[in-house]
C-alpha cells in the first residue's frame, strides 16, 4: 500500500496530432494544456496514465501505457487500439480535443542495468506501445536495445520506423508476410544470450515468452494489462496473484512484474 506515487496528478491535455496507423490503431500526440508541475520527461518507461475518453463515451477512465515522451515538444504519445467505446472515441479524437488524464501511474521496467547488458524487448499488438519509450531510455543509459515484434501480418506491425531508429529490430508474423514466419517464441533471436527480456502484449504471448525466459534462465519482466477500476490502488479490482504477497494491485505494484514474483 506504500507503493502509491505521491507525484500523481490529474490535468487536461490537448490532442496536437492523431496519426491513423490502420483501421484499428492510432497514435495520439498530446500536450499538457497548462504548465504542469511535473516534467513529462520524468515519466518512467512502463508507467501508464488513466484517460477519460472524450464525449462521455465511457463511465470510467481507461488505462493506457506511456508510449513515448517527446522531450523537445513536451508531448505525450499514446498508441491506441480500438477495442471498444472508450478507445474508439480516443481514436476518433481530432487535434484540439481536450482530454482529462491522470498521470503518471504505476511502476515501470528496470532501466538501471549494467552498461554491457544484452536486452531483448518483445512486443505484440498494442503491447509494443511502452517498448518505444523503454528502448529510448535504455539507449540513453548506454544499452543497445534489440526488439522482437510480433503481429498477425505485415500491416499489423506498428511504428516500425520508430523502432528502427532506436535499435535493431526483428519481426515475426503469423502469416509470414514480413520477418520470420510464426509467433515470436519461434523466432530464433529469442534464444540468444540475454541478461534480461522485457515483454508486453497479449497474455498468451507474454506467458510463452516467460516460459522461454524460464527455460533459458533469463531475467524477464512483463507488463500486465489487468482490467482496472481506478488505477490508483483504491478499488482492489486489478489484482494479480504473487508468490510473496498473494493478490496485489497491478496498478500500484505493477503494471511491470518480474516473472519470478508471479505464479506463471
Amino acid at each position: 500500500m506504500n507503493k502509491i506515487n505521491s507525484n500523481t496528478k490529474s490535468g487536461t491535455f490537448i490532442v496536437t496530432d492523431n496519426q491513423q496507423l490502420s483501421s484499428t490503431y492510432s497514435l495520439l500526440i498530446l500536450r499538457p494544456e497548462d504548465d504542469i508541475d511535473l516534467k513529462l520527461a520524468d515519466f518512467k518507461a512502463g508507467q501508464f496514465v488513466e484517460v477519460l475518453p472524450p464525449a462521455n463515451s465511457t463511465f470510467l477512465r481507461r488505462p493506457i501505457s506511456v508510449c513515448n515522451v517527446d522531450e523537445t515538444t513536451n508531448t505525450l504519445w499514446l498508441l491506441i487500439r480500438d477495442a471498444g467505446a472508450g478507445t474508439h472515441a480516443l481514436n476518433a479524437s481530432r487535434p484540439g480535443q481536450k482530454i482529462d488524464i491522470i498521470y503518471p501511474l504505476g511502476h515501470g521496467f528496470s532501466t538501471t542495468l549494467p552498461k554491457a547488458s544484452k536486452v531483448l524487448l518483445i512486443g505484440g499488438g498494442v503491447g509494443v506501445a511502452p517498448l518505444i519509450y523503454l528502448g529510448r531510455k535504455l539507449k540513453e543509459a548506454g544499452i543497445e536495445p534489440i526488439f522482437l515484434l510480433g503481429a498477425r501480418s505485415k500491416s499489423d506491425l506498428l511504428l516500425l520506423d520508430k523502432f528502427n531508429e532506436i535499435g535493431k529490430v526483428f519481426c515475426s508474423t503469423d502469416d509470414g508476410s514480413f520477418g520470420t514466419p510464426g509467433v515470436v517464441t519461434q523466432n530464433p533471436v529469442i534464444n540468444d544470450n540475454y541478461d534480461i527480456m522485457f515483454t508486453c502484449g497479449p497474455m498468451p504471448m507474454m506467458k510463452a515468452v516467460a516460459k522461454v525466459a524460464q527455460q533459458n534462465n533469463v531475467e524477464c519482466e512483463v507488463s500486465l494489462e489487468n482490467v482496472m477500476g481506478c488505477g490508483l490502488g483504491a478499488c482492489l479490482c486489478c489484482v494479480e496473484k504473487t508468490k510473496d504477497e498473494g493478490n496485489v494491485c497491478v496498478c500500484t505494484e505493477g503494471p511491470v512484474f518480474n516473472i519470478k514474483r508471479l505464479l506463471w
Binding site: 470510467l60 478499488c235 479490482c237 493478490n247
Partner: protein, 302 residues
C-alpha cells in the same frame, strides 16, 4: 458563511457532510496527491475483517451502463494490520476516520469492533451488514430484520462510540430493516451498499466476474438510492447517511433533501479524484444561492 456541520449519530458532529464510501477510497492516502484530505467531513476506510482476506479471484470488475459491477470480496490485511500499520499514519488528519467492518459471524464483528474501540481517533465505525460478495457472511445479516438487529446489538456492546449500520438495498422493505437496527441501538444508518447484479460477455459466453454476480455501483444506482434514503429517513429517528451513485455536488444535495444528514461518495472518486472537494464547494455555493445559512435546514425537506 454557511454552517455545514452535521450530526452523524451518537453525538458525533462532522465539519461538513462529505464522507467517502468504503472500498472506493482506500485508506485515503491514495487520494492525498489530488485533494487535501483534511477538508473532508471524514473518510470511511476499506472494509476490515478480523482475519486477513485475499478476496475473490480476478476478474473483479466490469463496466456497465453508467456504473460498474465489482466483486472484490473484502480483500484486506485484517484489523490487527489496520491498528498497527495504517491507523498511526492516519491519526494526524483533521477529518473523522471511520472504519467499515465486516464479518462472517457475529463473533467476527464483535472481535473487530473490540480491537477498534480503544483507538482515540476512531470515533465511529460503519458496520457492513450488506456486502453481497461474501458467500459465507454479510448478506444473511442484512436481509432479515432479526439478523440485522442481532449484529447491531452485539456490535453496540463491543464498541462504545458511534455505530453506523450500513444497509443492503437487496431487500424487499429497507425501512423495516432500518427500524430493526434502530431498535438494536444503532446510532445512524448509511445506505445504500451495492445492488446485486450480473453481466455476461456474449462473445466468450461467460460471466465477466469470477464470482458470476457482483455489486452494482455508480450513477446507475442513484434513483434507487435516493428513493431508499427517503423511505428510511421517514421511518427512523436516527441520522441517515446517503450514498449510491453520487457523482457531484448536485447529487449530494438531492440525497440531503431526501433526508440524508451526510453523504458518502464512492465510485465517482475513480473518475474524478477531486470529486469530494468539488462537491463540498458546490454545496457551499448552493447554500449561498438559496439563502441557506445552515445545511440542517435542507435535510429531509422532501
Amino acid at each position: 458563511m454557511v454552517n455545514l456541520r452535521t450530526h452523524i449519530g451518537g453525538g458525533l458532529e462532522i465539519q461538513n457532510p462529505i464522507l467517502t464510501a468504503s472500498g472506493t477510497f482506500g485508506y485515503g492516502e491514495e487520494y492525498s496527491s489530488f485533494i487535501d484530505l483534511n477538508r473532508l467531513g471524514g473518510f470511511i476506510v476499506k472494509g476490515t475483517t478480523f482475519e486477513p482476506r485475499q478476496g475473490n479471484d480476478y476478474p473483479r470488475m466490469v463496466e456497465t451502463p453508467s456504473g460498474m459491477l465489482n466483486a472484490v470480496g473484502l480483500q484486506n490485511k485484517g484489523v490487527k494490520h489496520f491498528v498497527d500499520e495504517i491507523y498511526p499514519r492516519l491519526c494526524d488528519y483533521k477529518s473523522e476516520i471511520i472504519v467499515n467492518i465486516s464479518g462472517a459471524s457475529i463473533d467476527d464483528y464483535v472481535a473487530v469492533a473490540q480491537m477498534l474501540d480503544p483507538l482515540p481517533r476512531i470515533k465511529a465505525i460503519e458496520v457492513n451488514i450488506s456486502c453481497p460478495n461474501v458467500k459465507a457472511g454479510g448478506m444473511a445479516f442484512g436481509t432479515t430484520t432479526s439478523g440485522a438487529q442481532a449484529v447491531t446489538e452485539a456490535v453496540k456492546k463491543a464498541f462504545s462510540k458511534t455505530v453506523i449500520v450500513k444497509l443492503s438495498p437487496n431487500v424487499t422493505d429497507i425501512a423495516s430493516i432500518a427500524k430493526a437496527v434502530e431498535a438494536g441501538g444503532a446510532d445512524a444508518v448509511s445506505l445504500i451498499n451495492t445492488l446485486m447484479g450480473m453481466a455476461i460477455d456474449i462473445e466468450r459466453r461467460r460471466p465477466y466476474l469470477s464470482t458470476i454476480t457482483g455489486g452494482l455501483s455508480g450513477a446507475a444506482v442513484k434513483p434507487v438510492a435516493v428513493r431508499m434514503v427517503w423511505q428510511v429517513a421517514k421511518a427512523v429517528k436516527i441520522p441517515v447517511i446517503g450514498l449510491g451513485g453520487i457523482m457531484n455536488g448536485a447529487d449530494a444535495i438531492e440525497f440531503i433533501l431526501a433526508g440524508a444528514s451526510a453523504v458518502e461518495i464512492g465510485t465517482a472518486n475513480f473518475i474524478n479524484p477531486k470529486v469530494t472537494i468539488e462537491a463540498l464547494e458546490f454545496i457551499e455555493d448552493y447554500c449561498q444561492r438559496h439563502n441557506v445559512t445552515d445545511i440542517k435546514e435542507l435535510i429531509g425537506q422532501i
